[in-house]
């Protein structure tokens, strides 16, 4: 089945120790998104890739970086995690992102990050 996969499902890292979360998709979608969701809050978009074009949200901290080496994979790098970065990180895809598109997003199961 075509799907969005996130690894690992649970990640524990130490304060200040770099961590990378991964996402892969078998849907062959052009667009991949990374969201941060804190407990009982709405998912918040961090950035997205349209093919290889990277788009950062204005309020995404510099501590967060992303890489998309190919269509299938996208990585979220947190350079120096702080306690406030503990959250669920959700990866999503959509087929395209045109101005008139009416397309849903497909989400992975998420990676829950704990910072100790």
């Amino acid at each position: 089945d075509a799907m969005v996969i996130q690894n690992p499902r649970y990640q524990v890292t130490q304060f200040g120790k770099p961590v990378t979360l991964s996402c892969s998709q078998t849907l062959n979608h052009n667009v991949m998104y990374w969201y941060q969701q804190k407990s009982s809050q709405a998912p918040k978009l961090l950035f997205h890739y349209y093919d290889k074009d990277f788009n950062n949200e204005a309020d995404t901290p510099d501590n967060f970086q992303s890489r998309r080496p190919n269509t299938s994979f996208c990585f979220l790098d947190i350079r120096s995690p702080g306690l406030g970065d503990a959250a669920m990180y959700l990866c999503a895809t959509s087929r395209e992102a045109g101005l008139a598109s009416h397309l849903e997003q497909y989400f992975g199961p998420g990676t829950r990050l704990t910072v100790t």
Partner: protein, 112 residues
């Protein structure tokens, strides 16, 4: 800033009853979508309603959209215990690139 506001924040009902959740937003939209999230899991798309549509149905789901009031509602009829989850509305802004802005969600508990 957050686009959508949802109410109620939490809803507790018995199996068989209907559940209604409301969502309000602030800016012009291209479409509005509803997603479901089981505890500790990713989001699952339920239904999408375009800005020129007023009502849409999918199985036990009914969504309405009132662009003059900038509001939407999601009705789940004949609820089941398996409907227990958080429900989020998300708006895709007009002129945007399919960026979704999510509301804070409604936590629904359906008791057997």
């Amino acid at each position: 800033s957050q686009q959508g506001e949802e109410d109620p924040q939490a809803l507790s009902i018995q199996e068989g009853e209907n559940a209604t959740m409301n969502c309000s937003y602030k800016t012009s939209i291209n479409n509005l979508q509803w997603y479901r999230q089981n505890s500790g899991r990713g989001l699952v798309h339920l239904i999408l309603i375009r800005s020129n549509e007023r009502e849409k149905h999918s199985g036990r789901l009914r969504v309405t959209l009132d662009t003059s009031k900038k509001s939407s509602s999601l009705l789940i009829t004949a609820s089941r215990a398996a409907d227990t989850a958080s429900y989020f509305c998300a708006t895709a802004q007009r002129g945007g690139y399919n960026k979704l802005i999510f509301g804070a969600g409604t936590r629904l508990a359906v008791h057997p």
